[in-house]
Structure formats: structure tokens, C-alpha cells
């Protein structure tokens, strides 16, 4: 990801929302990062991925300003902010 800043740090998810009628799925709504609160406005994609026998749920979210990738480790119940991709960096891409 060329316009992304790798972060790879544990974070707190302070609000969630649920989607789906029969089997509602949980999505992060607001996170705290470096004392700042980021509220997501849209979910891009949620996909589970396996790391060995560990199941990690990957969430691609946006707050309208930048795209965020979050990972939730289903074994340790820890949320991690993997990267922030900001369109502002697009100017330096090529």
C-alpha cells in the first residue's frame, strides 16, 4: 500500500455497531488513538483471515478523511490499528 502509514499498535475501540438481521455482526464505530477519537463513517470490507490456528478479523474502515485497517485477534481479544491510508499522500505516490 503506497500511500499508507504503518502503525501496528494496539488500540482501544470505544464504540461498536451491529449489522445484519439474523446473525448481527459487530463492527468498530469509534477508536482512540494517541488521545484522539476517530469515528468511522463507513465500513469498507470485513474479512476473517487465519494466522495459523488463530482467527484474525480484518476491518477496513473510513472516517471520510482517511482509510484505516484494524485487526481483531479473536483469541487474545485485542484490537490493533494496522495502517492509516490517507489520500493526501497520493500526491507523493509516483
Amino acid at each position: 500500500m503506497e500511500d499508507a502509514i504503518l502503525i501496528n499498535q494496539d488500540i482501544n475501540v470505544v464504540a461498536y455497531y451491529f449489522k445484519g438481521k439474523d446473525q448481527p455482526k459487530c463492527f468498530p464505530k469509534r477508536i482512540e488513538y494517541k488521545g484522539r477519537q476517530i469515528t468511522f463513517t463507513e465500513t469498507g470490507l470485513r474479512h476473517p483471515t487465519q494466522k495459523g490456528q488463530r482467527m484474525v478479523h480484518v476491518f477496513d474502515m473510513t472516517d471520510g478523511q482517511a482509510d484505516y485497517r484494524l485487526e481483531f485477534d479473536a483469541a487474545s481479544l485485542i484490537w490493533k490499528l494496522v495502517y492509516v491510508a490517507d489520500m493526501a499522500y497520493a500526491a507523493f505516490r509516483n
Binding site: 503506497e2 463507513e42 469498507g44 470490507l45 483471515t49 487465519q50 495459523g52 490456528q53 482509510d67 489520500m87
Partner: protein
Amino acid sequence: MPPLEINRQAPQVMHIDLNSCFATVEQQARPLLRGHPVGVTNRITKSCCIIAASYEAKSLGVKVGMRRDEAVRLAPDLILAESDPPKYHYVYQRLANIMKSYSPAVAMKSIDEGVIDFHHTRTYINRRDLSVIGLEIKQRLKDDVGSWMRCNIGIAPNRFLAKLAASLHKPDGLDVINHQNLRSTLAGLKLTDLSGIAERNQARLNGAAIYTPLEFLDAPAEVLRRQVFKSVCGEDWYKRLRGYEIDDQTFNTKTVGRQYVLENSRLDNATICSRLAYLCETTGMKLRYKNMCARGVMVYARYSSGDYWYDKKVFKTTFFSNAEICRRALLLFNRRPQDDYIREIGVSCYKLSPSDQNQLSLLEEVNQEVWLSQALDCINQKYGNFTIAYASAYPSHQMVKQKIPFGSTRYFELLCGAA
């Protein structure tokens, strides 16, 4: 062969093709990329090439296979994204699940396309109009994966015509080809619009004074067989164009292998051998995943000058472990001419047969090899692929990333476990 009429059966085959799959999935995952020209590449380097382009990029002239500098010249605002296999795997699984809910006869042709055969489905589904089912599949894809996902759907009496129908109106098209509109559909196309007809086959057809798909359709089977294709392929094309199914075939795995374009053409011998050892590790993984063992190894190298070298050997005994593949591959690889820089290397195993790992050997060292291999696989399954690997391959682990296997989804589950 007696002349055949055009197949008049109702279309029962549906071809589903995700539009610019990887680029669309990237745009789905990152909403800020939507509406922008996006190119997906396997590794972002100066000389990388585009493996998928969004429709915005395609409208600016960016094509799949184009080099980065050329693509950026055409679309200065092009955003490059590195491919992310687990994401595509998820979308592939969702699509496959949707398709399987309509018929058990589903064949995924590649990572972004599949075929549903409705011939043997339940009466409840068979009574419905396939166009309505097509629209329903489009909506379910949007509901399941995301609102940006689009797919082309083609419905026809056989797989070839269904694929052709799916390519008529991109993106997000839904077309039906049947015996009534076959001629009018072909009349608006060029020979190279037909799947399987590229420059060489076009030249063959032109040699027999066939210049359009309609002339191709009207050509007698004998001409296609004896004059154009000079093989049974001519008859296959004759039937295929008339809507008869001949592509419903599965093929056994003949080879298992891996290749890699070196990140730098000035690498020293030790580093190149490490890259080869890594390729052997993944080849061994694939082999055991398919529960097979091999007797033959082939290695190749492509040089900076464009020259190509390969060597292969069939051994008396079968093998399946990473160490054995690596040992035998290096044996051949060390015979290569060393007067030029290498640009690409590859290894593959052939002469495959079902695995004999469960057979206890009289030779203790053979049993030890089996047990070691099983123990390594067990650890890697638990903690993720390449948690434990041979030291010779280890330096390449970070450099050679697992990428998308085009054309086949045979090892998808295995490769996505490597995340």
C-alpha cells in the same frame, strides 16, 4: 462429422465474472479510492506491472500487464495498491457460496469467475427465469460483500457462449445468448473477442478466409478440422460455437511449482540459491497439500539478456519433503550457465503420484524424513506457514511474498494460511 444445427435448448449455463476483481475489491475495502484510477500490483517496485486496473484507470487507457511507468504516463493520478490475497480469498468464498446456493454443479474457473450449471438443479429453481436469478446474484453480492461490488453475468446453452455473453457489456452487464440471437450477437464482434482466439488462431482462421465470427460459425467442421486447426480442436470449435457443451472437463494436476522474478538482477549466487530454496519450500507445501509425491524436478532461469535455461531430471524414488525437493533442485540449478545475470527463477515437480507417506518404510532414514516433514507441517498449521522453515530459505521469507495464483484456485486455502 455430420452438420450440426445450432443448439436450440434453453440456456442453462450461467457465467459470473467479477469486474476488475482485485481493483474493485480494493475500492470496496477503501472507500476513498472509489472513483479514482487504481492499479493493483504484486509488488510496488519501479518496474512493477499492473495486474488489475479499476474501470476509472481502464478508461484512461491503463491495461492489465502494463508497466508502472507507462501506466502513470497515461493516468498521472493512478493510485497503486499492493495485492492483498486474503481479501480476494474472502470475496471469492462469498461468491462461491452464493453460487452454490443455486446449484451443486458450480465450477470456479479462477479467482474471479465461475460457472453455474442449472441443468440438474431443483425444479423450484429451474422454473425461475435465469435472468431474474442473475439479477438476484448481483444484489446478493452487494449485500454480502459491499455496495461497490459488481459482476458481469452471461447466460447461454454452453460455457463458452456464457463467457462470451458475460463479456458483452462491462461493467455490471447481464446478457443472454440463445439460438435466436446467436447470429446477431456474433455479427457485432471481432474474431479476437472470442475467448480462446488470439493473434495466432486469428491468423490460422484468416488463412482459411475466415475473417469474422459469423464466417467462423458458418465454416464446415471439415474445414476447421483439416485446414484451420489441423486437429480435433477444429471439431471442438464447431460444436462450441453452436452452443454444445464440450468444455465441461476437469484435468488432473500434472505439475506443482513456483516461480519468482528476482527483485534485483545483480544478486549473488548465495542469495539466488536462498530464493530457490524458498520456492522449493512452497512447492513442497503445495505437493503435500494435494497429498502427492513427485519423481521429477525441473528448474529454470531466465537471464537479463532474455535467454532461457532449464534442466530437468526424473529420479528413481519419489519425494515430497522440502529438503528433498531443494536438494534435487539445487543439484540441477548448479549446472546452469553463469555468464549472465538472472532475472527469473522457477522450480516445478512433475511425474506426480498419490502420496506414499503413510507407508512405513524398512529404512529408518526414510521414516525420519516423513516424521520430520509431518512435524514441520503440524507446527506451521498451528502457528502459520513459515513459522518454522529451513535456514537456507529463511532470508527469502520476507522478500518473496505469496501472491495471487491466477487461473487456478487449487491452493487458495493453503496460500491464504500463509498470511
